[in-house]
C-alpha cells in the first residue's frame, strides 16, 4: 500500500466515480441501439438466475423460519402470537427478501463478474475484443446488467415466497398455530404499497450488483493479485451500496405511499 497525498487521492476517487457513471450509463443505453447480444443475455440469465436458485431458496426459507421463531417470543408478551404471519410476511416482502437476495447474489455474482472481466483485462482479452471490433461494454457488461436486474426481481419473489412458507412451517410445527389463519394473516398484512416497495428494491440492487461487479472487473490492474483485489472490492462495495440504497428507497417509498 503506497501513501499518496490527499489531493491525488481525492482526484483518483472523483475520477473513479466518473468512470463508474460513464460505464453504467453506457451499459444501460447500449440496449437501445444495435448490435445487441441476446444470446449473451440468455446465458447470463441462466448463470445468474438459475444458478442462484438454491442459495436464494435456502436463504429465504431459513430466514422465514428464524423470523417466525424470534417474533413469536416477542409477540407472546403481548399475547399476540397469532400475529406471527403478519410480521413474517411484512418483514420478508418489504425488507429481508430483497436485501438478503441482493446480498447473496452480490456475493455470488458481483465477485464472479469482477474476476471474470478482471482476468480478461489482465490477459489483454478486453483489448483483443476491442481490436476485433467489439465494444466490451456492449458484449460483456450490458448482458450482465439486464440479466441481473431481470433475474433478481424473480429471485426476490421466490425468496419472499419461501420465507413465508418457512414461517408457516415453524408456526404450525413448533408454535402450534393454525396454518390457514397464518396464511390469511400474512396475506391480510400486505397492502399494495408494501409489494411495490419490495419489488422496486431488486431493480436497484440488480443494477448495483452488475455495474459495480463489472466496473471493478474492467478497471483491474496488476495481474492475478489485482484480480483478487477487484473481486473482494466488488463484493464489499456492492454490498454496502445495497444497504445504503435500501435505506434511501425505503425512505422515499414511505414518502410516496405513507408506509
Amino acid at each position: 500500500m503506497s501513501f499518496v497525498s490527499p489531493e491525488i487521492f481525492a482526484k483518483q476517487k472523483v475520477a473513479a466515480v466518473q468512470d463508474y457513471s460513464v460505464l453504467a450509463l453506457h451499459a444501460v443505453t447500449n440496449l437501445f441501439s444495435g448490435p445487441r447480444y441476446w444470446a449473451d443475455i440468455i446465458t447470463q440469465m441462466d448463470s445468474i438466475g438459475f444458478g442462484s436458485l438454491p442459495i436464494i431458496v435456502l436463504t429465504g426459507f431459513f430466514t422465514g423460519c428464524v423470523l417466525a421463531l424470534q417474533s413469536a417470543t416477542s409477540l407472546q408478551e403481548f399475547g399476540a402470537v397469532s400475529m406471527t404471519g403478519n410480521l413474517v410476511s411484512l418483514s420478508m416482502v418489504k425488507e429481508l427478501g430483497p436485501v438478503l437476495t441482493g446480498l447473496m447474489v452480490s456475493g455470488r455474482n458481483a465477485s464472479g463478474m469482477a474476476s471474470e472481466l478482471g482476468s480478461m483485462k489482465v490477459t489483454e482479452q478486453l483489448d483483443a475484443m476491442r481490436a476485433l471490433g467489439t465494444d466490451p461494454v456492449r458484449k460483456l457488461v450490458t448482458p450482465r446488467l439486464y440479466a441481473t436486474i431481470f433475474m433478481l426481481f424473480f429471485l426476490t419473489i421466490l425468496a419472499d415466497a419461501f420465507g413465508i412458507a418457512g414461517g408457516a412451517l415453524v408456526s404450525v410445527a413448533l408454535l402450534g398455530l393454525n396454518g390457514s389463519s397464518y396464511f390469511h394473516n400474512s396475506y391480510q398484512a400486505l397492502v399494495y404499497a408494501d409489494v411495490v416497495q419490495g419489488l422496486t428494491k431488486p431493480l436497484f440492487f440488480g443494477f448495483i450488483i452488475a455495474t459495480v461487479g463489472c466496473y471493478f472487473g474492467m478497471t483491474t490492474k496488476g495481474g492475478t493479485q489485482g484480480v483478487g483485489r477487484s473481486t473482494t472490492q466488488a463484493v464489499v462495495v456492492s454490498s454496502v451500496f445495497i444497504i445504503i440504497v435500501d435505506l434511501l428507497v425505503t425512505r422515499s417509498m414511505i414518502g410516496i405511499f405513507g408506509r
Binding site: P35, M120, T123, E124, Q125, D127, A128, M129, R130, A131, L132, G133, T134, D135
Partner: protein, 282 residues
C-alpha cells in the same frame, strides 16, 4: 546506395505503384507519458500501402504502446495518428470499431479468448458479422490451414503451446483479410524452428496478398529473414531472393528511449554510420 536489385523488380513495381496511393499509417509528433515516464516522444513515421514495416528496439522502449496507438486502443497525449486517412486520436470509439474491421492485430501474449475454443476464437469476427455457420466453419478451416493448425480446431487455448497460440492468433487476425496487419512480437520467446515457421507465414501474407503490415520483433535474425526471403507460390515455401537480393517492400523503424533512431530501407540500416545503431545491430 543500392536500393533495388533486378530480382526484386516485382516488389519494386508493387511499391512503386503504391507510393502514389495515400499512406496507410501516419504518425505525426506523437507523444505519450505514463504517470511521469515519457514513453514515446514526438514520434513521426509513415507506412505506405503494401509495405511491411519492421519495428525494432530494446525491451520497454514503447513498441507495443506504438502498436496499440495505431489501432486506437490507447490515445496519445499529443500528436496525430492517421490510419487509412482517418485520425484515430480524435475519432469516437464507435467509429473506431468500424475502422478496426479493416485492421488485424496479433497481440504480444496472443490474447486469445480462453473460454472459447480455437474455432470460436478464429471465427470471432465472422460470428460478429453473422456469417452463416457453414461458411464460417469453412473459412476457419482455411485460415487454420494457412497457419498449419487445422488439427487443433476443437482445442481450447489452454491446451496449446505458446507457438500454437501465436499461430491461432495470426489466423484470427487474418481471417477477414484485413488491409492492415499489426504483429506484436510474433516470434518472441519461441524456438528458432517455430519462429521461422511464423516468419514464413508473415512472408506468405506479405507476398501473396500484399497486405500492409507493422511487425515488432526482438530477433534481428527474423527481421533479416523477412527482408531477404520471398514466398514461392509454386513450392509453397519461402526461399532466398537470389543474388543477395532484398525485398523492397520491407522497411525498418528502430526506436530507442521513445524516439526514432532509424527509419529507412534494409540497405540503409545495414550501412548505417550511427554508433548506437551499429552497436545494437551487433
Amino acid at each position: 546506395m543500392p536500393e533495388a536489385t533486378p530480382n526484386s523488380m516485382p516488389h519494386q513495381l508493387h511499391t512503386g505503384a503504391a507510393t502514389f496511393d495515400a499512406p496507410v499509417v501516419v504518425f505525426k509528433d506523437v507523444s505519450i507519458t505514463f504517470d511521469v515516464k515519457p514513453v514515446l516522444q514526438d514520434l513521426s513515421f509513415t507506412v505506405h500501402p503494401g509495405e511491411t514495416r519492421i519495428i525494432l528496439g530494446p525491451a520497454g522502449c514503447g513498441k507495443s504502446v506504438l502498436m496499440k496507438l495505431a489501432n486506437g486502443l490507447m490515445r496519445p497525449d499529443s500528436g496525430s495518428i492517421h490510419v487509412f486517412g482517418q485520425d484515430v486520436t480524435r475519432m469516437r470509439e464507435t467509429d473506431l470499431y468500424k475502422l478496426r474491421s479493416r485492421i488485424g492485430m496479433v497481440f504480444q501474449e496472443s490474447a486469445l479468448f480462453d473460454s472459447l475454443s480455437v474455432e470460436d476464437n478464429v471465427a470471432y469476427r465472422l460470428h460478429e458479422e453473422h456469417v452463416p455457420e457453414a461458411e464460417a466453419h469453412d473459412r476457419v478451416l482455411e485460415a487454420l490451414k494457412f497457419v498449419e493448425l487445422d488439427q487443433a480446431i476443437a482445442k481450447f487455448p489452454s491446451e496449446l503451446s505458446g507457438g500454437m497460440r501465436r499461430r491461432v492468433s495470426i489466423a484470427r487476425a487474418i481471417i477477414t483479410k484485413p488491409d492492415l496487419i499489426l504483429y506484436d512480437s510474433p516470434t518472441a520467446g519461441l524456438d528458432p524452428i517455430t519462429s521461422t515457421t511464423i516468419v514464413e507465414l508473415v512472408i506468405k501474407q506479405r507476398d501473396v496478398t500484399h497486405t500492409t503490415s507493422l511487425l515488432i520483433t526482438h530477433r534481428l535474425q527474423d527481421a533479416f529473414t523477412l527482408a531477404m526471403n520471398r514466398f514461392n507460390q509454386s513450392t509453397g515455401k519461402m526461399e532466398r531472393i537470389p543474388n543477395g537480393g532484398i525485398d523492397d517492400s520491407t522497411k525498418f523503424l528502430v526506436l530507442n528511449e521513445g524516439k526514432v533512431v532509424f527509419d529507412g530501407t534494409t540497405m540503409e540500416l545495414v550501412h548505417t554510420s550511427d554508433p548506437w545503431l551499429k552497436d545494437y545491430l551487433g
